[in-house]
């Protein structure tokens, strides 16, 4: 628990915003469909209506309540994305670690497969695959997205595992007879947690983007209300031409915000994992002055003297100056 609190404290502000935002959507996914005012598929005579008290997000051309659709959509989209995230992360960790750990011919073969799937553009392949599969629920989409999503993580994890593996301590463990799986589980993987976490977040991001894009194009089940499907119907029923902005804005905004929250979260994880990205952040201000990483090393006396009397006076109340041993007013 303590380390979690530590992690939270060390996260940069933008990552905290990301976590909060994402948490909001998870909450919406959980309770949203329970509290939605209407059945999303329920057609009413109130067609193409702008937002009102009865329908907070307005209605579609069939008179369906958009708010309810969006709430259901958030849950479905998140379910799908998280499922893909879990599957892909598991597979990519398996492939990446095995490939790096075993080395030799296994590494060559697995790397080749990984790289081939990396270089092939995913969307056309996805479209062809889904075009042939029948549209039943979200499962085909999950399978197809997982099939094409694992190479990214696998490649990154393999690189990291190779670096960590560094002949010596692994060979030493082997010498002492420690079983391979134990080495992998207890020594390798704990060192890669932040990388795996980042990979997971990236995969979820990719799954959301890809599934929404596919739904928008009409390839997934057009009768289940994922966020992409809402946009599909908006496009099909010419919401744009009718200037019915309320139809596509909420769903699109939801996708954008979920995505943004994940990107923010990821950049925070990036900074956690890479000290150099972090180091210059917290200390970019010295004695009230902004110091660029590429400036000459600052000299305290110079910084203090250029602050001016009022600045020095105000600064002397700051926590920093207390640490430097200057009590309030002592400088004047």
């Amino acid at each position: 628990m303590k380390s979690l609190a530590n992690i939270w404290r060390n996260l940069p502000l933008k990552a905290k915003i990301g976590v909060g935002l994402f948490g909001f959507f998870v909450l919406a996914a959980i309770i949203g469909p329970e509290v939605q005012p209407y059945d999303p598929s329920l057609q009413t005579p109130l067609t193409m209506a702008a937002p009102s008290a009865q329908h907070w997000f307005g209605t579609t051309q069939e008179g369906q309540d958009i708010l309810s659709q969006v709430l259901t959509g958030i849950r479905l989209t998140l379910e799908l994305a998280l499922a893909v995230g879990v599957i892909v992360t598991v597979v990519s960790v398996l492939v990446g670690v095995t490939s790096a750990f075993l080395g030799g011919i296994w590494d060559d073969v697995l790397s080749l497969i990984t790289n081939v799937f990396l270089v092939l553009p995913p969307l056309p392949l996805l479209i062809v695959l889904l075009g042939y599969l029948s549209q039943q629920g979200q499962t085909p989409t999950i399978i197809v997205l997982s099939l094409l999503g694992w190479p990214w993580g696998a490649r990154v994890i393999r690189a990291q595992t190779l670096a960590i593996r560094g002949r010596d301590f692994i060979d030493a463990s082997r010498e002492t007879g420690e079983k391979s799986w134990r080495i992998i589980l207890f020594e390798l993987i704990p060192n890669e947690i932040s990388l795996i976490a980042a990979s997971f977040v990236n995969t979820v991001l990719y799954a959301i983007g890809a599934s929404v894009a596919l739904a928008f194009v009409g390839l997934t089940n057009v009768n289940s209300w994922s966020l992409g499907t809402i946009l599909f119907w908006a496009q099909t029923d010419s919401a744009l031409q009718s200037a019915a902005w309320w139809w596509f804005v909420p769903a699109g905004l939801a996708v954008a915000l979920i995505g943004t929250s994940l990107v923010l979260l990821n950049s925070g994880l990036d900074e956690l994992g890479s000290p150099r990205l972090r180091a210059t952040r917290g200390t970019a201000k010295v004695a009230g002055h902004k110091i660029w990483p590429t400036d000459p090393t600052p000299v305290l006396a110079q910084l203090q003297s250029s602050r001016g009397r009022l600045g020095s006076f105000l600064y002397s109340f700051s926590r920093r100056s207390m640490l430097e041993g200057n009590a309030a007013g002592g400088d004047l």
Partner: protein, 329 residues
């Protein structure tokens, strides 16, 4: 040279995988694809039905699996992608000929602009780590995270529908001009490509910027950059020739890796704008269950990405002296 040859071999393997996948997918999914296709044409005479069945050589065929495979390879090499179903009996390759140039020009140019712009901004943001450009990143991230087409929809709504500043979609206005090397046509086409291009750039700049910024930050703390400062070199020389030149290498590699996604996103863009490129055609093919066209487009896009990757590899070798001598020792 060896490095490039290895890369070329790799891309050939990838191409082989793509072609083979393309061959197997229709045969691997449940249901008889021939029936799916033919069910779209319920009122064919039995002879036409038979002829059609024979024409769908690229989808199903007679003979053993292996001979079908070879036959398929033969077709691919002759750019014979079969016959288009929606516009029967136009050959698929003819349909592709019309749409590929549009995509190349729009997507190609916009992607390169986005990459150059993003990389340039990333250099500045990384050098001034913590500055205002750096702090504006979350805004850019929003544009990156939002689905391409959503941003596109919003922009179209604003620029084309609410204010009629730019056309709503399509490649050109068919009522006003027709394709040809005339200024009227070109200017019209340019006008129609502004919004799509702008959208592509807006949504992808953030990715390049963020990536370059991160690489710059780590590159700046390299010893040779400190050495450049110790040498008293001018700031521009330090930033560009010492820091950015080196940071460019991982950035280019990232570009190569991301090409597949970049192309995918741009295709969606075409759909939103009804831009007459391959992406738009892919959508129509899917909606019409026009399998020969669908699979042909898949191959074309894949090959294009592989070629682009090879080009990026060439550029990397040009910029990185170490890559030139890699594998030579």
């Amino acid at each position: 040279m060896t490095y490039l040859l290895r890369r070329l071999a790799f891309y050939l393997v990838a191409a082989w995988v793509a072609i083979t996948l393309n061959f197997f997918i229709p045969r691997a999914v449940p249901g008889n694809p021939a029936e799916i296709i033919l069910s779209k044409y319920p009122d064919l005479t039995p002879q036409a039905y038979k002829a059609l069945e024979q024409m769908i050589g690229g989808v199903v065929g007679t003979g053993s699996l292996w001979s079908q495979y070879l036959h398929y390879w033969n077709n691919v090499f002759h750019f014979n992608f079969g016959v288009d179903l929606a516009n029967f009996p136009t050959p698929v390759s003819q349909i592709l000929d019309q749409s590929i140039p549009w995509t190349l020009i729009l997507v190609g140019t916009a992607t390169v602009i986005a990459f150059l712009l993003g990389t340039g901004l990333g250099i500045l943001a990384g050098w001034r780590h913590g500055g205002w450009l750096d702090r504006s990143l979350p805004v850019w991230m929003f544009f990156q995270a939002a689905p391409y087409f959503f941003i596109a929809l919003v922009l179209v709504d604003f620029f084309a529908i609410e204010h009629h500043w730019l056309p709503v979609g399509q490649g050109f206005n068919g009522e006003v001009t027709s394709p040809g090397w005339t200024w009227a046509f070109i200017s019209n086409a340019l006008e129609h490509s502004l919004l799509p291009a702008f959208t592509i750039v807006l949504t992808s700049v953030a990715g390049w910027m963020l990536q370059m910024r991160n690489v710059m930050i780590t590159t700046i703390s390299e010893d040779y950059v400190i050495a450049a400062q110790a040498k008293g070199l001018s700031k521009s020389r330090t930033v560009f020739t010492y820091a950015a030149r080196n940071a460019l290498l991982p950035q280019l590699q990232g570009f190569g890796l991301a090409l597949g996604f970049v192309v995918s996103g741009a295709l969606i863009m075409e759909i939103v704008f009804s831009y007459p490129g391959i992406g738009f055609q892919l959508l129509e093919a899917v909606q019409n269950k026009d399998f020969p066209l669908m699979q042909a487009i898949f191959l074309v896009i894949t090959f294009a990405v592989l070629v682009a990757n090879l080009v990026v590899d060439l550029i990397i070798v040009f910029f990185d002296p170490r890559a030139r001598s890699r594998e030579a020792a």
